[in-house]
Amino acid sequence: MIHLENPFRLTDTERKKILDLALSRGGEFAEIFAEYRLFSFINMEEEIIKETAESVSLGLGIRVISGEKTGYGYTNDLSIEKIKKTALTAAAITDSGKTLSIPPFHKTPGHRDLYPLSRPAHLASLQDKIELARRAYRACQRIDPKIQKVKVLFQDHVQYVSVVNSEGQIAEDTRPQVKLVCTAVAEKDRRREFGFSGGGGRVGLEYFERVLTPEKIGREAAEEALRLLEAVEAPAGEMPVVLAPGHAGVLVHEAVGHLVEADFNRKRTSIFWDKLGQKVGSPLLTIYDDPTRPSFRGSYSIDDEGTPPARTLLIDRGVVHSFLQDRLSARLMGRELTGHGRRQDYTCIPIPRMSNTYVDRGQDDPEEIIKSVTKGIYAERFEGGQVEDSGKFTFSISAGYLIEGGRLTAPIKQATLIGTNIDILQKIEMVGADLEFGLQTGTCSKEGQEVPVTDGCPTIKISGMTVGGRR
């Protein structure tokens, strides 16, 4: 565990008083979410430490639920008068009349040992963090004179959250987060290309010695940019696509993960709403979301509603097994909580979100998967994707290769893949035994709220997908 001084000095009596005010007009549930976050940032470019930044985020949000309705207020003025006023703002959602009384408070323990770190970043000196940035920068720059521009960002934060609700539950979490990323621009014959790499997670600075060194991050960014200088235009049209292990997890995140978030199914806007227990994809496909992977960027010991999370089976051998739940959807759908109610910060209402989402390993030899393709593409790096509830999704390849005659040949430039999820899930023909996770740098955006996530997958072959290249 790491420690951060709790700046919220509310006594139990005050907490009870605030929750009573929140429920003074009725409602089944009220909650106080308090957040204190310390953030630091370093930017190195053009050979210099260009700037550093320090941020403090401190505030609380009060929520009242009545049926399907949510009232929400937040404030960063923590005077007791202002907090009470915020409670009354949230209370205005209903006028059904007070019925609830609040039981004595009890503490809900979270998952233990999810953040096993030895050198917490928020206690480390700025000089130590600057040195990490410099190491990545130098490693990137010295690979090749064609590397014309390097930029390194180091960010860390520690976020203390506490949740107190009208069921008497009190839960707390103090979450570390670190990220070191490097971008490189390579130039040759007036052509410029861009490379990216990075790492981090809910770790301390020891990560950059033991798991992923700044040198490796810098080198990978440079190598990607250099390789893209030689890349050819991607082909256009429908063809087999092999997803590389790790980064291609973003496809699963977009094509499946969002559509099993409970809110979209409760509202019947997701195409999966009536498909629980039904087969929607290849029997080779099993997908989990797991907020309890130690040190992972998307992990947490309680979610932002105070629920200890559990690894959740989403797709079981092609069959929709369960949805990612938050309190509101679980209650309205009559389902168990899964611990996936997350929020960007205290200004936001929690909604069902992914954490660390991955396709379980299969049986196939990754080399055999590539050999099985006569003409297609190998999708290796991605810059993101998007899905809509109708199941249509895209994701953008930032680096990959042509597959010709069962071999990887020329590197390809940026291209977009598009598909409809059920169609693609049924076209999964082979799943490798080589599960990997992508970079520990990802962020997922939903309804304007950004939360840290990771995703992973083994090598996967999709028999046909529309590739949006230019030739």
Binding site: E45, E47, I49, K50, E51, T52, A53, E54, S55, V56, S57, E68, K69, T70, G71, Y72, G73, Y74, T75, N76, D77, T89, I93, V185, E187, R191, R192, E193, F194, G237, K267, T269, I271, W273, D274, T347, E383, G384, G385, Q386, E388, D389, S390, F393, T394, F395, S396, K413, Q414, A415, T416, L417, I418, G419, I422, T466, V467, G468, G469, R471
Partner: protein
């Protein structure tokens, strides 16, 4: 710091923190305070779903010592916290590198008449919550009356009232208020396995300018149902007509490529192209922060420099990059009043309209794609390449024939700007970055 009779207005607070920064040893200090009041209601299927009301106050601060810079942001405005952050910032600045281009801009002599910009609608603060809820309910109700609509993502009314204050150690002290309101609805049509969806939103500074519930609902319905029963098409290169919303998206990409920050970072393919032709003679793109009542207008930027009008592309020739004072010094170019935090952002950034109506542009197209929506990422400012998932309507013989889905479009921004065959007359300023309907000579549309 004065303890007696101190000025607790935002302006007074900002000035005090500037003074305190200098006391701590900073050469230059810049403080920005933003106070906001937010109201939002989401309704769905005739019921209120979420109701949010809140007020907040945020501080951002920049200190420079020996040409070394440090930044701070905080939502904890306790005097003791801010003092600690300022003291830390001066120490942290010492650990950054000396940068001859750093520093606050000199005090400008011009003064913008803030009321003439019409950034505030006092009516917004007087609106009753029940009236806002009614507008959202009414919008969704009208949309759901259409039997082709099968589900709703809900309708929302949002209003914001914001006060921005900026003070710096060169003596700049300024503040302005602004308001926003929006009404939107998202819809689905079709059955579970052939769903289509879209939405419409009206965003304005002035409540009386907001589209009516009827108008928002009808546009959302029309945009949604026109996608029903899409067909797939073969991969081919055809003319592509961009609806205004799609031109907005393309212009957002152009902005990223003409940002002075991207230019000095060599992160844009236009970095060495100032003064050269990057598009057809029918392309003129302007950034103008001083248009009365427009969404992207403001009297001064985040460094206190007055906003202005800058012609970015003139008849196809790249004329100006958009710079904050740092990028301007790096590139020996003028600062254009586009500073936003540590970077730059557009004010009103738009493509000048032409004379053709959208109907005439469609009628002039023998075969092509009318692009209505894109999803995904796939924009690369370093190369100008773009590639996105696309939705649209197939045009044949000058008429809309049927919807298409699961296609992607791919191309290059410079090539696109050089082959715009028609520019529409339908510029509507519904977003800070905007343009009219345009027709691009040829793009690769990948399908089956």
């Amino acid at each position: 710091m004065k303890e007696k009779g101190r000025d607790n207005s935002l302006l007074g607070l900002a000035e005090r923190f500037v003074e305190f920064g200098k006391t701590c040893g900073a050469d230059e200090v810049e403080i920005s305070l933003v106070e906001g009041r937010e109201f939002s209601v989401d309704v769905r299927l005739g019921q209120v779903e979420n109701l949010v009301e809140a007020g907040s106050l945020h501080l951002s601060l920049r200190v420079i010592k020996d040409q070394k810079t440090a930044y701070v942001t905080s939502s904890d405005l306790a005097e003791e916290t801010v003092r600690r952050l300022v003291r830390n910032a001066v120490v942290r600045a010492g650990l950054a590198s000396r940068d001859e281009h750093s520093g606050l801009p000199p005090l400008a002599s011009e003064d913008i008449d803030i009321p003439s910009l019409r950034l505030v609608d006092p009516e917004i603060s007087r609106l009753d919550p029940s009236q806002k809820i009614r507008l959202a309910l009414e919008t969704e109700r009208i949309a759901l009356e259409d039997s082709r609509i099968t589900n709703s993502h809900g309708a929302s009314f949002i209003s914001n009232e914001v006060t921005a204050v900026l003070a710096n150690s060169h003596g700049f002290l300024g503040s302005y208020d602004q308001t926003f309101c929006s009404l939107s609805v998202g819809l689905q049509a079709g059955g579970t396995d052939d769903k289509v969806e879209d939405h419409w939103a009206s965003v304005k500074r002035h409540f009386r300018d907001l589209e009516t519930p009827e108008s928002v609902a009808k546009k959302a319905v029309e945009r949604t149902v026109r996608q029903l029963h899409p067909r797939k098409i073969r991969t081919q290169a055809v003319p592509v007509i961009f609806e205004p919303g799609m031109t907005n998206w393309l212009l957002g990409f152009l902005f990223a490529c003409v940002s002075g920050v991207a230019v000095y970072q060599k992160a844009t393919f236009l970095a060495e192209r100032l003064g050269t032709r990057i598009g057809g003679g029918n392309i003129t793109v302007v950034d103008d922060g001083l248009m009365p009542g427009r969404l992207g207008s403001r009297p001064f930027d985040s460094e206190g420099l007055p906003c202005r009008k800058t012609t970015v592309v003139e008849n196809g020739v790249l004329r100006h990059f958009l710079c904050n004072s740092y990028a301007g010094r790096k590139l020996s170019l003028p600062s254009t009043g586009n500073a936003d935090g540590t970077g730059v952002s557009p004010n009103n950034f738009f493509l000048l309209p032409g004379t053709a109506t959208p109907q005439e542009i469609i009628a002039s197209t023998e075969k092509g794609l009318l692009l209505t929506r894109t999803i995904g990422h796939g924009l690369n400012p370093v190369t100008g390449d773009l590639s996105r998932g696309a939705f649209g309507l197939w045009v044949e013989g000058g008429q809309v024939a049927y919807p298409v889905s699961e296609v992607t479009i791919a191309g290059n921004l410079e090539q696109i700007l050089n082959q715009i065959e028609a520019v529409g007359n339908d510029l509507d300023f519904r977003a800070p970055v905007c343009g009219p309907t345009i027709k691009v000579g040829e793009l690769t549309v990948a399908g089956e």
